[in-house]
Symmetry: C2
Subunit: 392 residues, 2 copies
C-alpha cells in the first residue's frame, strides 16, 4: 500500500504543537486549568460590525457563488485600504480574494513553482509555508537566521543562497514566530536583489496591521512585481471565516484567475460580505484598541520573560508572538514545552515547529490571552523553572 | 518574464463558459432578458434551517478556527447520514470537512499523485478535475466515452487504458455534464479492477443526493479503500458557503490530516455550524421537494429538446444537467452557444468546457431555473433553430 502515497508526504510534517494542543485539551477535560499561549489566534472575537454584516448577508438569504476573483466591492475596499494606509495604488484586477492567506499562497506558488525549483525562506519561519512548497514538489531552502538579521532574510543572504535552481524568495514581515520586521531599506534591497535574478518575490504581510511603534508598510512600495499575501484572520479578527487576499503582479493575473476558478470556484460568500464591514471606521477603531492591547501585553511579557532569564535579544515590532531563547534552562525546548504543560498547565509552542536552526533553544509565546492570564502563566513558569533549578 | 510562470499553467484552461457568462452579464446590463442555463448552481437558495443555524453561529460571536479535520459533531452527522442513507458505516476519523468538494479533491490528489503519474477520467467530464491533476504536474488521461457506456468509464475501459504510469482513476457519478450514473454492478467491477492494479480510486459523489428514479448509492458499498468526494453545495443548496467533505481510506488518513492542517488550517466555521442543520428532518423535507422539482424540470426539458431535434440517447438519472447532442444544427457547438446568447438571450455551456471528444457536437443545459423560464428558453431556442434552418 505504501507506494500509493505521494512521495511529497514524506517531506510534509504535521504541526508538533497540534499534539501538544491535544494533550492540553485532555488535561482540560480532567479539570486542569490550562493557559493557552501556543495558539496563533487572537482571543478577541470577530468585531461586532463584521459579525453584523455577516448576519445581514445570511438574513437576506442569497448565499450563491461570487465571481472567482472575489466581490468587486471588496476588492475596491482593499484597494482603498492600500491607498489610505500605505499611499499605494493597486488595481482591482490584481487583487484576488482567497480562502485565507493559505489560499493566497496556494495560488501564488501554483502559478510560479515547477517541481525541483527552490524557494528561499527564513528558518525559523511559519511551517505551512515550506509545506506549500513541498506540495508542488519544489524545495524550500531554509536559510538559518538569528537576531543579527532580526530573524529575517537580507538581500545579502538572498544573494549568497541563490543558485541555478532558485525560483524566488518568500519573506514574512512581521515574522511568525519572531514578530520581527524587515527594515524598510533592507526590504527595498531584497526587492532589487530578487529582480536582478529575475526571480519571484512572495511577501507574507498577514501581520502588517499588528505593528507596535513601527509604521505599517508594504513591499508594494518598492515594486509592483511582488506577490503580496494578506489575511482577514489576524489583525481583522476573522480567523474562522477563512478569508484573505492576494495581490498579483500584472504578468501573472491571467494565470492566477484560471487557478482561482479551478481550485476554489470562489471564496466563502458570507465571509466576503462580512469583510466589507472590516474597513469601516467603527470597526477600525475597535481594531486599533486591540492593537494597543496587544502592544501592552508584549511589553509586559517581554519584561517578565527577561526577568525569568529568557533571552529576547531584540524587541519585535509586530504580530503577537515572542520567540524566546530558553537555552539557560534546557537544551531541548520540545521536552521543556511538554513538561511545562504537564506540571504547570501552560501551553507554548516549541521551536521545532518553525525549523531546525537552533530550534531546541527556542519557545514561541503567543500573547493571545489577557494580561491577567499571562501574569498567571509567568507565575507558573517561574515556579517550574525554580523547581527545575532545585532538581539540578 | 514568461519563464517565471510555472509550466503547468500552459496545461490549465480557463472555463470557456466564464467568458460567455461575462457576455451574458453585459447583455443584461444593456437591458436584455437572459435565461441562465449555463450555471451549475441551483436557483433554490440555501434552505431556511441551514441559514438559521448559520445566523445562530454568528450571533453567539465565536467564529474561531475549528480543528483542521472539521467539527466532530458534523463528522458524526455525516457518518450517520451514510448509515441511514446507504447503510454504510464510516469512521469519523476517515471523514474530513473541506472547503467544498474542490478542497476534498485537492487533499485526495495531494496525498496520492506524484509528478508524471496518470489519472484516468472520462471525457466529457468536469473540467476542474483535470486541472487539479495538472496542479501536481501529473497527467489527466481523458478516456473518450459516449452513450454506449452511459458517458461513464467502465472496468473494461479502465483495464484497456491502464499503463505503467497510471496511478488511479477518477469517476464522477452522477456525472457533470451528462447526469448519468455508473450502474451498480459496473461500479463494483471498477473497484475490483483498480484494486487489482493496486491503484487509487477517487469517486466524486457530489450529485448523489440528486437522483431521479435511481436509488442513492456510494462506492463505499464496494470497498473501504476509495476516496469519496462530496459537497454541501448542490444537493444541500450551500454553494456560496464553500463546504464539502472527503472520506479517506484508513491508509491515507494521517497524510490527509497533515495536508488539511497545512493547506486550509480549517474549513469555514459558520459553514460548518450551518451544515449541522443540513441533515435535520425539516431540512431534508425541503431538499426532497427540491429534488422532485428538479426531476419534473428534467422530464420537461428532455421532452422539449427531443421535440426540437436535439439527441439525448439516454435519460440521465441525476444531477441537474442535460448533455444534448446538437449535431443536426451545427458542427460547432461553441459558436452555436454564442449565437444563441446574442440573438435569443439563452445561455448554455458548450461541450468544449468538458473535454475534446465530440465536444463540438454537444451543449450542456443546466435546469437550474424554473419550468416557466425553461419553457421560455425552449421557445427562444425553437425560434433560433428555425431561423438557422431558413438561413441555410
Amino acid at each position: 500500500m505504501k507506494n500509493r502515497i505521494a512521495q511529497r508526504m514524506a517531506e510534509i510534517n504535521p504541526f508538533h504543537v497540534m499534539e501538544l494542543l491535544q494533550r492540553a485539551k485532555e488535561l482540560e477535560k480532567q479539570g486542569r486549568d490550562i493557559i493557552h499561549m501556543e495558539i496563533g489566534e487572537p482571543d478577541f472575537k470577530t468585531p461586532d460590525p463584521v459579525l453584523r454584516a455577516g448576519i445581514a448577508c445570511l438574513a437576506q438569504g442569497d448565499v450563491g457563488y461570487t465571481e472567482a476573483q472575489g466581490l468587486l466591492e471588496l476588492r475596491i475596499k482593499i484597494a482603498q485600504y492600500y491607498q489610505e494606509c500605505y499611499q499605494q495604488s493597486v488595481a482591482v484586477e490584481q487583487i484576488f480574494i482567497t480562502p485565507g492567506a493559505s489560499g493566497a499562497l496556494l495560488l501564488a506558488l501554483a502559478a510560479t513553482l515547477n517541481p525541483q525549483d527552490h524557494l528561499l525562506m527564513a528558518d525559523p519561519g511559519y511551517p505551512c509555508n515550506r509545506n506549500f512548497v513541498q506540495l508542488f514538489d519544489a524545495t524550500p531552502k531554509l536559510i538559518p537566521v538569528d537576531a543579527e538579521t532580526r530573524y529575517q532574510l537580507t538581500a545579502e543572504l538572498v544573494q549568497q543562497y541563490w543558485c541555478e535552481h532558485t525560483k524566488g524568495v518568500l519573506i514574512t514581515t512581521p515574522s511568525n514566530p519572531t514578530g520581527t520586521v524587515i527594515p524598510d531599506a533592507e526590504l527595498g534591497r531584497i526587492v532589487v536583489q530578487v529582480a536582478k535574478e529575475d526571480g519571484i518575490l512572495v511577501v507574507d504581510e498577514t501581520y502588517q496591521g499588528l505593528l507596535y511603534g513601527h509604521p505599517p508598510t508594504t513591499a508594494l512600495r518598492y515594486s509592483e512585481d511582488v506577490f503580496i499575501l494578506n489575511s482577514f484572520s489576524k489583525y481583522f479578527g476573522m480567523t474562522g471565516w477563512r478569508i484573505g487576499w492576494l495581490i498579483v503582479p500584472k504578468a501573472f493575473t491571467s494565470s492566477v484567475l484560471k487557478l482561482s476558478q479551478n481550485l476554489f470556484i470562489a471564496t466563502s460568500t458570507p465571509a466576503q460580505y462580512a469583510a466589507l464591514a472590516a474597513f469601516e471606521d467603527d470597526n477600525m477603531r475597535i481594531l486599533e484598541n486591540r492593537r494597543l492591547e496587544f502592544s501592552k501585553r508584549q511589553d509586559y511579557l517581554i519584561h517578565e520573560l527577561l526577568r525569568l532569564g529568557f533571552k529576547i535579544p531584540l524587541k519585535p515590532e509586530g504580530a503577537f508572538y515572542l520567540y524566546a531563547n530558553c537555552a539557560d534552562f534546557t537544551d531541548d525546548s520540545f521536552k521543556f514545552a511538554y513538561e511545562l504543560l504537564e506540571s504547570e498547565g501552560v501551553a507554548v509552542t516549541p521551536g521545532k515547529d518553525f525549523g531546525t536552526f537552533q530550534a531546541e533553544q527556542y519557545l514561541r509565546f503567543a500573547y493571545t490571552t489577557s494580561i491577567e492570564r499571562i501574569a498567571e502563566a509567568i507565575g507558573r513558569l517561574e515556579h517550574f523553572i525554580n523547581q527545575k533549578k532545585e532538581g539540578v
